[in-house]
Subunit: 455 residues, 2 copies
């Protein structure tokens, strides 16, 4: 038995006290956000009506390498961090691979994912600004849960617009949010202008994330003392998520382990961007080299099949324009896609790093993803989230390649969360009725054609 | 800020390597199991057709103080143990209490509870005996999940009889078990004689735990290479669960903390018995004193309102008779009881310790339990299982008493698991439609009257 433990835990005083802002080390900065009306680059203060001021500053900050984490946030982190870096001894044995596999496990908290790292930060700055509350949208409810836990902690009001079909079909996440005191409204609702309009135009609609975003933004801007918050894509979110990578790197360093390969699932990019931040920082500064792989679903392949252009961040087209790898804001993965990571675009930081060649991308089919999830669950004892299982799939594939070549690579992947609220998807897989969908080139070209002609 | 961290983690090499058998230190041993046919005390070998031989020996072992934990089990424990002993700083602050509150958190694993500690041991001994598989029953599915994780790890077959109403209304736990490769059969089924008989007598029945036990026992004894396993009540289970208390005590000792009060929820007694084992051991040996409180639901109050007599362990009356605090094997808590801990009797070890005055008992109403659960979740960031929340309720009550008296007591309680699969109950509470049920004296007298006249 190796001297490396199953779980490498840092001590509480090793929790990072500053977030790492990878943009400071990027020669090619992410392209600026543009005003959707004028096409002009946005100034920090242009964002103040939507987001907290401190978060607007973080969103626009391309220069400061380290941003202090306020003590109140560190205290909250202490309730569930440092998260363990786990050596997957049992998976290695089951695969018969010489590779050493490690995963940074972010699921040991009630939100069940890494989303809490940014939710608590956003709630803190809202509280500090003296706001009454925040609004947001949620699909399956992972982000909404993390946010409601954070607002409960700081005594803020929390208004969540939940896509109606999820509200009705996934009542459990809704009840977690309610237990944490959040108001959860099925979207489209009759509480906003945009919601009423959509209900009128499309009676009986199931709702969409795009509509829920529009309602949440309207609710934030039309109520005194409220702002809107978002759980992925934004640069501020990737900044907060850098705690994942900083802890992972500290844990590896503690045992003198040099990662060869770092693998993360990629939807909007919050987990991947956070996990790889300090590693890609070393690459940007020419200090080290890593093979970094972003894994996305074949049904929503923004990096592998999208275009790097300016696009709308929301289907309602009320948010700023961002330059990113995108499938077009109208793109919707097929309804049978159960594996998460459904966002049409990719964080501008991850997009730029990918365009500059620091990150590779791979797309995987969802039945292959669930096969990896099941294999992992049975030997490692954790039922993984479908999203996280994209990374597991590629980690297993790479470990099996090592078995062929005899290489003892150090493979690190991000296990972003648990699948306890995704059992409808697991049931489909267990029943053998899950299928795969891959969009045609024509599908993607059609939605890309609707991107604004800019940049 | 105190120097005691939020989470006291032991290192992996501090995981106990032997279970502590509290019976060795008890002057008054638990009363022996009796043959349900003859009323004679059972011999170890009488149990061999039902349980693995090694487990039968552990069941009957009243003398060996320490029983080595096999290395394979310790390796599995390393995947999710040591579990943290958490200082509830945020709860203390919210309550404004001078008390110091600690909880031993057993929910950070996919089974979501402490049940895994015994499930992996029972699966190990089944594997070691060369068995093909094991059978068991499960209600809501917590034990079945823990067992299916354990059998998947050792490559054993796992057949779970799940109470039909839970099978249909709680499909998610079922899907976790299936993902781990278990066969889950709604009970009563047509696969056993007893199941067919019950289906014939009561067409359309929803099933009961008693019936599921009978089916699982029949399935075990009628198939070559199978044995039956059980997740609570048995002395072997309490033995395995002593890892909870041993770790908790080691963590407290590491910081020189002397617990004043130890609180655990009590259904069959597996968590409580495990948590208190080393502490009550000190009491039995006259080395220290603690106030130990067993908390049970007012709707199923075996310790506070039951009798200490020999009773049937299952409603099907096929299992050995045990002397225990019981409400009678026909006793069923009202259907509106959502808070778990539904078993009619109490582990014979806990029963004897209670009868000898080492343990106090308190019963609490379920709406008070869910109020405590919500308060805890909002400040400590963990959505607790309803079962665990019984202990939270009393811990909060005791901390509030300290606020009145100014005493800085060290309160330790067991947080046995998470409530991610209990959101139907939380929804009832959130919707204000949860009510309380307290059985009448006549209800209890009527079911107690059916106990066998023995002992």
């Amino acid at each position: 038995m190796s001297e490396i433990p199953y779980k490498i835990y840092l001590s509480e005083n090793e929790i990072p006290t500053a977030w790492y802002n990878v943009r400071a080390d990027m020669k090619n900065k992410p392209a600026p956000l543009l005003n959707p009306g004028t096409g002009e680059p946005l100034k920090t203060e242009d964002l103040y009506p939507i987001f907290c001021e401190e978060l607007c500053k973080q969103e626009m900050n391309n220069t400061d390498k380290w941003i202090d984490i306020p003590g109140e946030i560190v205290d909250f982190y202490k309730m569930y961090r440092p998260s363990p870096l786990v050596r997957a001894y049992c998976l290695e044995k089951a695969l018969g691979t010489p590779a050493h596999i490690y995963y940074k496990f972010e699921g040991n908290n009630t939100s069940g994912s890494h989303k809490l790292n940014s939710a608590i930060a956003q709630a803190y700055y809202a509280k500090k600004q003296g706001l009454k509350g925040v609004t947001t949208e949620t699909g399956a409810g992972q982000w909404g849960t993390a946010l409601s836990m954070s607002t409960a902690y700081f005594g803020l009001d929390c208004q969540v617009y939940m896509v109606k079909v999820s509200y009705e079909q996934k009542p459990f996440r809704r009840e977690v949010m309610r237990t944490y005191g959040a108001t959860v409204t099925p979207s489209p609702s009759m509480t906003t202008n945009v919601g009423r309009k959509i209900n009128e135009e499309f009676p009986g609609t199931d709702g969409s994330l795009g509509c829920a975003i529009s309602e949440a933004v309207e609710a934030a801007t039309s109520q005194e003392g409220y702002r809107y918050v978002l759980g992925s894509v934004l640069s501020q979110v990737l900044l907060h998520q850098s705690v994942i990578g900083l802890e992972a790197k500290a844990a590896l360093d503690k045992y003198g382990i040099k990662a060869d390969m770092i693998i993360g699932c990629a939807g909007g990019g919050s987990n991947l961007g956070g996990l790889i931040a300090p590693f890609v920082g070393e690459m940007l500064r020419g200090e080290a080299d890593y093979e970094i792989i972003a894994v996305e679903p074949a049904s929503c392949p923004s990096l592998t099949r999208g275009s790097y252009v300016y696009d709308f961040c929301d289907t309602g087209r009320v948010c700023p324009l961002a330059k990113m790898y995108t499938l077009g804001s109208d793109f919707m993965p097929a309804p049978n896609h159960a594996g998460g990571l459904r966002y049409h675009g990719m964080s501008s930081i991850v997009s730029q790093l990918y365009d500059d060649g620091y990150i590779k991308a791979r797309s995987v089919k969802q039945t292959d993803v669930f096969a990896a999830a099941e294999q992992f669950a049975r030997v490692e004892g954790i039922l993984p989230a479908p999203e996280s299982s994209h990374a597991i799939r590629v980690a297993i594939d790479e470990a099996l390649k090592c078995k062929e070549t005899g290489e003892a690579k150090n493979i690190v992947f991000g296990l972003t969360g648990t699948g306890y609220f995704d059992l409808v998807a697991y049931q489909k897989y267990n029943d053998g009725v899950m299928d795969d969908y891959i969009p045609t080139d024509d599908d993607i070209a059609a939605s890309l054609a609707k991107c604004p002609k800019l940049g």
